[in-house]
């Protein structure tokens, strides 16, 4: 893949009059106007069924809203075809709350797939990058197994790592902490902090109910309620919430 498919920087993400509803259901996002905080770890909160996962999927370009505008760097990406949106997509990593691994490929093949497919780096570099991340999380013995043959913890981890190997600018994670286990969770958070120091995953959006996990980050909060988005700033030094 050539460099023309990579965008240099994602600076702004904004909704304008955006409405999304699943087929046959009432809108989960209703005429929302919202500018997302950038260079932050953003915790998307809301009660169950309010549309947290839907919001994250819209942000990752996996769901197309029925109306409104979604601007990334002042470009309305909703008008774009799959090919036109590709540079943005490659800058956005998305992790699933469940599923999402390609079942007829090994964990190693799953991790290397986006790098190899888009030829983002040479095959040698891609293998080295995947090998190093597999080693870092100590899942070498499962690397050449298919998803059905490995523990759920490793499946979930592999799904998270597949987004990380792309070294995206924006990281969108749906319930990342569920099923990871304590040690893996700390290693994962540590890895994200390291990536952010290196200049990757600058903008993180995630939904979770795990307050202990979120306490490992300095975060801002977006509430989703009745189809609207509300920003709640958090003083991370005092961890006191200012509405």
């Amino acid at each position: 893949m050539s460099d023309q498919n990579r965008i240099s920087k994602i600076e702004t993400m904004k909704f304008e009059h955006l409405t999304f509803s699943h087929e046959g259901h009432s809108p989960l996002i209703r005429n929302a106007d919202f500018e997302f905080p950038m260079n932050e770890v953003v915790w998307v909160k809301g009660i169950e069924g309010q549309g947290k996962s839907t919001l994250l999927q819209v942000l990752a370009g996996l769901l197309v809203p029925q109306s409104g505008f979604f601007y990334i760097n002042d470009q309305n990406v909703l008008d774009m075809s799959f090919e036109e949106f590709l540079p943005y997509r490659l800058a956005i990593g998305y992790t699933f709350d469940y599923g999402g691994l390609i079942s007829n490929r090994t964990i190693f093949d799953n991790l290397i797939l986006p790098l190899a497919y888009h030829k983002l780096i040479s095959m040698k570099e891609a293998k080295e990058r995947v090998d190093s991340i597999i080693k870092k999380f100590e899942i070498e013995k499962f690397a050449h197994e298919r998803p059905a043959h490995i523990p759920g913890r490793v499946r979930k981890l592999a799904c998270l790592l597949r987004a990380l190997v792309m070294q995206p600018q924006v990281l969108v994670m749906d319930d990342p902490s569920v099923g990871l286990g304590q040690d893996t969770l700390y290693t994962f958070v540590d890895y994200i902090h390291t990536m952010r120091k290196e200049g990757y995953a600058k903008h993180i959006f995630m939904s979770t109910y795990d307050e202990k996990y979120m306490s490992l980050f300095n975060y801002q909060i977006i509430h989703i309620d009745d189809g609207q988005l509300y920003l709640q700033t958090v003083d991370n030094d005092k961890k006191v919430v200012h509405l």
């Binding site: 498919n5 590709l86 699933f96 469940y98 999402g100 691994l101 390609i102 888009h118 030829k119 799904c159």
Partner: protein, 278 residues
């Protein structure tokens, strides 16, 4: 009188709904074909090497692994048709026409239909359930999130591999049923092989090549496009997978039969026109 009209009206409405539903379905399927070809051509990242493995494995599963079943069907069909046609043509004194008869029966009609049915039963169901499970397991979403277009990565190679397999299987079916059928029935009939082969050669026309490729390649395309479409139509739940698989079989069978019937009708209308009958 009023109730009669309302009954007729209700029937017309039902028919209208049935027709519009099928037209919409056909248009959606055709749109998917267009988009998958466009995506495969436009996809700069996806070289031929990326999809060659998927095409080859599709040919292996659909073509190679179907050979035993197709062989049995070809030999059985060939034996029955050769034996019946020899017996009846002998009675009518037209043994020299056996080649024409077998070409019409096997190459033009039975071959494409039987091969299509075997492929629907084996591979159409497999493709629909595989893609349906990928959908339920969110693998299709995962491909999209990685910037991989499922239409060029999943649909296009399966359709291409499927079409190649169906054409090859049909060729194999025709040869095996025409030649194998003759030798299997050898102990029941005394026709010299050279006479039989000569009759087949005389019965074979260039239109048969056209019909062979038209029927088999489009049948292959119909089966795999419909199966992929049905697989992709799974929304979220695994319980939809058997439903879409059944629907893939039903729709493929209907479309293939209608298509074969249309080609046959057009061909014979054309022949009648050439003869000056119509």
């Amino acid at each position: 009188m009023g109730s009669l009209w309302s009954a007729i009206d209700a029937r017309i409405c039902t028919l209208g709904r049935f027709v519009t539903k099928n037209i919409e379905y056909t248009l959606r399927v055709l749109l998917m074909v267009y988009l998958s070809i466009k995506a495969a051509v436009l996809d700069q990242a996806q070289g031929f090497r990326t999809i060659i493995n998927v095409i080859l494995s599709q040919i292996y599963f659909t073509g190679w692994q179907a050979l035993p079943l197709v062989s049995v069907m070809a030999l059985a069909t060939g034996s029955v048709v050769v034996l019946q046609s020899m017996a009846n043509l002998s009675l009518l004194g037209g043994t020299q026409m056996i080649g024409n008869f077998l070409i019409v029966m096997i190459v033009r009609e039975a071959g494409p239909l039987l091969v299509a049915l075997v492929v629907i039963a084996r591979s159409g169901t497999a493709v629909a359930s595989e893609i349906g499970n990928m959908r339920a397991n969110r693998e299709i979403e995962a491909l999209e999130s990685m910037g991989i277009n499922p239409l060029s990565f999943i649909v296009f190679p399966r359709v291409l591999g499927g079409v190649i397999s169906v054409v090859c299987l049909a060729f194999y079916f025709n040869i095996l049923s025409l030649i194998g059928g003759f030798f299997i029935t050898k102990f029941l009939q005394d026709m010299p092989f050279s006479f039989y082969l000569d009759s087949l050669m005389r019965g074979f026309a260039k239109e048969d090549v056209l019909i062979f490729f038209a029927k088999n390649s489009f049948s292959g395309m119909i089966i795999f496009v419909v199966s992929c479409y049905q697989g992709l139509s799974v929304k979220k739940s695994p319980h939809e997978v058997p439903q879409v698989t059944t629907q893939a079989v039903v729709n493929s069978v209907i479309y293939v039969i209608v298509f074969n019937l249309t080609v046959t009708t057009l061909f014979y209308l054309n022949q009648l026109q050439n003869l000056g009958v119509v």
